[in-house]
C-alpha cells in the first residue's frame, strides 16, 4: 500500500439523495429552532428539567456533539501526526466534520440557557475560576485551530505546516475533552460525579463517539460520490473503533469500581446499577461490550467486515456511548443529595429523600435532534463548497473510473 490514489472533490448534488438529505436536515433544524424558541418563550417548565434535575437531554446532546467533534479529528491526527497513510485521504473530511459538530454542540448548549439573549455577556465576562469559562475558550479556540488546520490541508503552499498544526490540534482536543469532563468532575455536591476519573472517561467517550460518527459520515459521503469505501479502509476504521471501545470500557469500569470502593460513594454507586438509571447504564455497557466481542471475532476469524456490518457496529457504539453519557449526566442528578448523613429525611417540600425522576420532553428532543441535524447540514454545505470529500481508489483500481 505504497500510495493511495485519492482525489478530493466537491460533492455534486445529483447523487445519493444529497438534496433530499439536506432538505430533511434543514427541516429538522427548523423544528429544533422552533422547539428552542418555545422552551425559551414559555420557560423551562415545559421541559422535563426542574430544580433537581437541572441539566437534561439538551446537555446530553450538546456534550455528545462536543465530544464527537474532538473524536472526529481521529483520522486527521492519525494522518498528520502519526503519518498513517491510510487515513490521509480522510484528513480534510475529519477536520470539517469536527468543526460542524462543535458549532452545533455549542449552539444546543447556548439555546438551552435560561437567557440565550445574554450570549454577549457570556462571551465577554469571564470568571477564570470557572472551568466553564475555560471551556468557552477551549471550544472557540478549537474551531479556530481546526479552520487553520483545514487551510493547511487545502492549500498546497501551506502543506508544510500540516504536521505542526496537526500536533497542536491533537493537544487541543485532549485538553478540550479533559475540560469537558472536568465540568462534571469536580462537583463536590454530587457524589456520583465528584471524581477526577471523569476526564479520561470523557476522552474515551469522545474517541468512540467521534470514530463512530466519522465512519457514518464517510459512508454517507461515499454514497454521494458513488464510490464504495475500500474494504481495507473499513477494516482499519473498525480496528481503530475496537481500541477506542476497549479504552472506554476500561475507564468506565475503573470509574464505577473506584466509586464502589470509596465508602462514602458506594451506596450511591450501587443505586447506579439498580436505580432509575439502571436501564441506560446496563444497556450502554452491554451494547459496547457486545460490539467489542463482535468486532474481535470478526477481526480474528474472518478478517473481513463488510460495509453493513461496519456501519451497524458504529451505530451500536454510538448508541452505547450515548447511554453511558446519559446515565452519567442524568443519573448523577437523580440520586438525592445527602445533606444529613445518619439521618433520615421524613418530610421536605423539595425532594430531599428518594430518587428524582426525569422524562425529557418533546422540546428537548427537538432541540437535541435539531443540533445533530445542524451539524449534518453544515457538513453538507462545506462538502459542497470545499474540495473535502475523498475519492479513494485503492492502488489496484482502474484510474479511469474517477472521471464520472
Amino acid at each position: 500500500m505504497a500510495s493511495i490514489i485519492a482525489d478530493h472533490q466537491i460533492v455534486k448534488p445529483i447523487r445519493g439523495n444529497y438534496l433530499v438529505w439536506m432538505l430533511a436536515m434543514a427541516l429538522l433544524v427548523v423544528i429544533g429552532g422552533y422547539c428552542a424558541y418555545t422552551m425559551e418563550h414559555e420557560g423551562h417548565h415545559i421541559s422535563g428539567m426542574n430544580n433537581r434535575v437541572v441539566w437534561g437531554l439538551p446537555h446530553v446532546f450538546a456534550i455528545s456533539l462536543i465530544l464527537a467533534a474532538s473524536g472526529a479529528l481521529n483520522s486527521a491526527t492519525l494522518s498528520s501526526v502519526f503519518n498513517q497513510s491510510m487515513h490521509k485521504p480522510w484528513a480534510r473530511l475529519s477536520v470539517v466534520l469536527a468543526i460542524c459538530l462543535l458549532i452545533s454542540g455549542l449552539l444546543v448548549l447556548v439555546l438551552d440557557l435560561g437567557r440565550p439573549d445574554r450570549l454577549f455577556i457570556a462571551m465577554t465576562t469571564y470568571n477564570f475560576r470557572s472551568i466553564f469559562s475555560w471551556n468557552i475558550f477551549l471550544y472557540t479556540g478549537f474551531i479556530a485551530v481546526c479552520v487553520v488546520y483545514l487551510a493547511t490541508l487545502l492549500d498546497r503552499s501551506l502543506n508544510r505546516y500540516i504536521a505542526s498544526i496537526g500536533a497542536l490540534a491533537l493537544l487541543w482536543r485532549i485538553v478540550l475533552t479533559t475540560g469537558t469532563g472536568s465540568i462534571f468532575g469536580f462537583l463536590v455536591g454530587r457524589s456520583a460525579l465528584d471524581t477526577a476519573i471523569l476526564a479520561p472517561l470523557f476522552i474515551a467517550l469522545s474517541l468512540v463517539m467521534g470514530s463512530a460518527v466519522f465512519a457514518l459520515v464517510v459512508a454517507l459521503v461515499s454514497r454521494w460520490q458513488g464510490t464504495p469505501v475500500p474494504a481495507n479502509t473499513i477494516r482499519q476504521f473498525s480496528k481503530l473503533m475496537l481500541w477506542c471501545l476497549l479504552a472506554l470500557l476500561y475507564f468506565s469500569v475503573v470509574h464505577h469500581l473506584t466509586n464502589l470502593y470509596v465508602s462514602e460513594h458506594s451506596s450511591d454507586e450501587r443505586t447506579m446499577f439498580t436505580g432509575p438509571m439502571a436501564l441506560p447504564f446496563w444497556l450502554g455497557h452491554i451494547t459496547l461490550f457486545g460490539v467489542c466481542v463482535w468486532l474481535v471475532s470478526r477481526q480474528r476469524i474472518i478478517e473481513a467486515i463488510n460495509q453493513k456490518q461496519w456501519l451497524l457496529s458504529c451505530v451500536a457504539a454510538l448508541f452505547g456511548s450515548a447511554m453511558i453519557l446519559y446515565s452519567t449526566i442524568i443519573g448523577s442528578q437523580l440520586i438525592p443529595q445527602n445533606l444529613f448523613p445518619g439521618k433520615e429525611v421524613t418530610s421536605s417540600t423539595f425532594g430531599d429523600a428518594g430518587f428524582a425522576s426525569y422524562f425529557p420532553s418533546v422540546w428537548e428532543w427537538g432541540l437535541g435532534m435539531g443540533g445533530v441535524a445542524l451539524s449534518m447540514l453544515l457538513l453538507g454545505f462545506f462538502l459542497r463548497v470545499l474540495p473535502v470529500s475523498a475519492h479513494v481508489i485503492e492502488p489496484v483500481a482502474d484510474i479511469s473510473d474517477q472521471v464520472t
Binding site: G43, R52, R115, R118, F132, G189, F340
Partner: protein
C-alpha cells in the same frame, strides 16, 4: 415562654421607633425627595460577616413561618409544582437513624465562605459580597444552572416561568437563577434590620432564627454560638458556611 413577651415588646418598640423615623423621613422627603439619604452610603464591608443561627430545638415540624415570611418579602408564589417553583427556604424534617430523635429545620443558601457556586459560575454572576452574602447578580446571569449542579445544599432555584407582579424591592424573572439573599435589600437599608424569615419566626413566637454579624464578638449571634455551639451542614466539605445550626 418567658422570653417571648419581652421579644414582642422589644419588637413593637422598635417598630414604633422605625415608624417615627419613617415619618420624620417623609417630612424630609416632602421637601425634596431625599429619603435615600438614610440608606447604606457605604459599601458592604468585609469587617462584617453576616450569618444566621438556627436553633433547631425551637423549630417545630409543621411550622413554615420562615418560608412564608420569605415568600411574602420577595413575592414568591408558593403554588405550583414543588420541583419547578422557587424555594429560597425549605423545611426539612429529620429522624436520626440511630436514636430516632426528630429534628425540624429550614434549609436555605448557606452563604459559604468558599462557595462552589461562585467558583463555577462562567460569567461571575454568582458572587460573594464583601460581607459574606452569596448572591446572584441577575443582570449577568445567563441561566446555565451550573451553580445549581455545584451547590451541595440544593439551595438555588431556576425560574421556569414568566413572572408578573414582582415586588419593587425584589426583582425576579424567568431564565435566571436565584436563592436566599439574606434579605440584602433590608439589611442594607438600616442597622438592626432583620431578614424576613427571622422576623416572621419571631413574630410567630419561635425565635429560632438569629441573624447577625459573625465577626462581631458582641453580636447576639456570636454570643449564642459561643454558648450553644453551632454546626454546619456538610461540614466535611469545609465550605465555612454563614448559616449555622444548633442541635443538629
Amino acid at each position: 415562654m418567658s422570653r417571648v413577651p419581652v421579644a414582642d415588646n422589644e419588637k413593637s418598640l422598635q417598630a414604633r421607633r422605625r415608624f417615627l423615623q419613617g415619618l420624620g423621613l417623609a417630612g424630609m422627603a416632602s421637601m425634596s425627595y431625599s429619603l435615600l439619604e438614610v440608606k447604606a452610603k457605604t459599601p458592604a464591608s468585609s469587617d462584617k460577616r453576616w450569618g444566621l443561627l438556627i436553633e433547631t430545638e425551637k423549630c417545630s415540624s409543621g411550622c413554615d413561618a420562615c418560608v412564608r415570611g420569605c415568600n411574602e418579602e420577595h413575592g414568591i408564589d408558593d403554588a405550583g409544582d414543588d420541583l419547578t417553583r422557587a424555594q429560597w427556604i425549605r423545611k426539612i424534617d429529620l429522624k436520626d437513624e440511630l436514636t430516632g430523635n426528630e429534628t425540624s429545620l429550614p434549609v436555605m443558601c448557606q452563604h459559604c465562605e468558599s462557595a462552589p457556586c461562585v467558583d463555577v459560575c462562567p460569567t461571575g454572576a454568582s458572587f460573594k459580597r464583601a460581607d459574606g452574602v452569596v448572591l446572584v447578580n441577575k443582570h449577568t446571569c445567563i441561566g446555565c444552572r451550573y451553580c445549581m449542579m455545584a451547590c451541595p445544599y440544593k439551595a438555588r432555584s431556576f425560574i421556569h416561568e414568566t413572572l408578573t407582579e414582582q415586588k419593587p424591592s425584589a426583582p425576579r424573572g424567568k431564565g435566571t437563577v436565584e436563592s436566599c439573599t439574606l434579605c440584602v435589600h433590608r439589611i442594607d437599608e438600616e442597622q438592626d434590620r432583620q431578614p424576613a424569615c427571622a422576623v416572621k419566626c419571631t413574630e410567630e413566637a419561635h425565635s429560632a432564627i438569629t441573624f447577625g454579624d459573625l465577626n462581631d464578638p458582641d453580636s447576639s449571634i456570636s454570643q449564642k454560638l459561643n454558648t450553644l455551639g453551632g454546626s454546619q451542614i456538610r461540614a466535611d466539605l469545609q465550605l465555612n458556611t454563614g448559616v449555622r445550626y444548633q442541635g443538629l
